[in-house]
Symmetry: C2
Subunit: 323 residues, 2 copies
């Protein structure tokens, strides 16, 4: 039987778990709710139980595990540092050590967006590009860069924090302490917050009809549907926010000149409504780096990119490949 590795993608409310072979082919997987489990210790115990249950199904323990967390982690020590989007306090939790003791294999910790970048690099657009920059556009905004076919992590795995690029440096305060970050402008909540204002003020009648007045149904998906069906004010605000994202992407282009910019996460599901203003803004704003050949595309592997990345990270630990 081929050796297996494990991957975990931990979000605000759920954790995706998987066992895969060293090529990344998933053999067993599961999703668990984590919200009700309280603090980090209990969440990590629940994750370990889930992984051990998958291992029992597979008839073997994983040779290594990769886990992605949504925030600042120290990859070198395997410690979480700052998780602004998790419900409880994850400052200085020795994630790798705790999970390793519970499961009995080496554990590699990584930021979830960097994991998604590694996933996209190995299994998505990266198969045809040597360098890429990936934006994860969800509740928070993360990012990652790959250069010369390798994930670029920086000394502790913190490089690629696109969500906190100041696009309007004197704009809204962000949870990170900076102002006018992309996360304040084009995250899921930033977009739906604006759409709800438009619904309430009668400026998004099609969206209002679509969600039948229930604003909890206002999501990037319903917003896109309404904008494409003729809600023009809504479409204009999506375009404007796509241009903000384009300003951030233009900065990334000028600093690293990637071959492809990949958008993933719920907001990317809006498709051309977001991709077009990003492409146009890059063309309009960048002349000192040639942009004709730079592609701006949706992720090829979507929401599974993060999980695939943690599996690749775990496999690299076993095979000795540098990520």
């Amino acid at each position: 039987m081929p050796r297996l590795v494990a991957g975990v993608d931990l979000g605000g409310t759920t954790a995706s778990l998987a066992l895969a072979d060293l090529d990344g082919t998933i053999v067993h997987e599961n999703k668990i709710a984590t919200e009700s489990y309280g603090g980090p210790q209990r969440v990590l115990e629940r994750i370990a139980e889930g992984i051990l249950a998958l291992a029992e199904e597979a008839g073997q323990k994983p040779a290594a595990l990769g886990i992605g967390l949504p925030g600042l982690v120290d990859m070198e020590s395997g410690t979480s540092r700052f998780m602004p989007n998790l419900p409880t306090n994850w400052v200085n939790v020795e994630v790798s050590q705790i999970l390793s003791a519970l499961i009995g294999c080496p554990v590699k910790l990584i930021n979830d967006a960097r994991a998604a970048t590694l996933g996209e690099l190995r299994f998505g657009h990266g198969r045809e590009a040597d360098s890429l920059a990936l934006f994860t556009l969800g509740t928070g905004i993360g990012g990652g860069i790959a250069i010369d076919g390798k994930l670029r992590l920086g000394p502790i795995g913190a490089a690629g924090e696109f969500g906190h690029l100041a696009v309007l440096p004197y704009g809204p305060m962000c949870g990170c302490g900076n102002r006018g970050c992309l996360e304040t402008l084009i995250s899921g909540p930033a977009l739906t917050g604006e759409a709800v204002r438009l619904v309430r003020s009668g400026r998004a009648p099609i969206l209002n009809e679509l969600v039948k007045g229930d604003i909890s149904l206002v999501t990037p998906k319903t917003m896109a549907e309404a904008a494409n069906a003729g809600d023009d004010v809504l479409k204009a605000t999506i375009t404007l926010r796509g241009e903000y994202l384009g300003i951030g992407a233009a900065n990334v282009v000028m600093i690293v000149h990637p071959e492809i910019i990949v958008l993933s996460g719920g907001v990317a599901e809006m498709g051309e409504l977001i991709l077009e203003p990003v492409r146009r803004t890059i063309r309009e704003r960048v002349s000192m780096v040639p942009t004709e050949a730079i592609r701006v595309e949706k992720s090829q592997i979507g929401e599974r990119a993060g999980l695939c990345g943690t599996l690749a990270l775990a496999a690299d630990t076993v095979t000795g490949e540098p990520s």
Copy 2:
């Protein structure tokens, strides 16, 4: 006799030429005025004559030559693409081919700020750091990044265009077509332009005294002298513009997490007046990447960084080292 290589740093009005051994020790050098020579062909001929004169002094021809140009170049083909700060049209000039035919050795073309980054990496702060980001702050603003001890150039050598990061995306138009670029805010002319307004409106009395009313003497150097001697409005404007630079530097930190940010060029000669607001702004605005260990310093080799970089690039051609 050791083998020699040649380096050329071409600016708007002068070109610095040097011959050095493969370790970068300069054995002969010269500076020539280029302004009056007209178009690119004549300027390149004059450079070739200058290099051949140095070669005659040294008793040997260079084994390779590196040349830095202030703008977008295609390193792969050795062609200049777009030089917004040169007095004549340098679009699509086959620089490497022309110089190679005139001098009789391989010629490598590079953007001048990337050359300065390579110089700083090999002979300056890079001796104690594996990764760095360098800002050249002169008539224009350029940049470059080094990661894992290597210059990061991108597919054609365009990565690192810090001067055109949009720091105020709805701010002043830049010559590059973008808006609110660092170059519009903290280049030498942007700073001295503001200082001249202050002199004329009586708000910079010490500077006015210092230059005896001759505004052509308003330079970053005299501005710093006056600000340190008590011109408080002037000092406040330098601080504000240093904060703009800090916003751009914060973006670079979030994308690549370098160990050190290096400032070079005339504006960097203001020292702490500029370094302090950059350091403070990075600390204030970046929390998703740890900033305590990130240093912000003046270049260790100053205005010679570009020339040293072209010599290193030429030496790499001879020894087969990747730059």
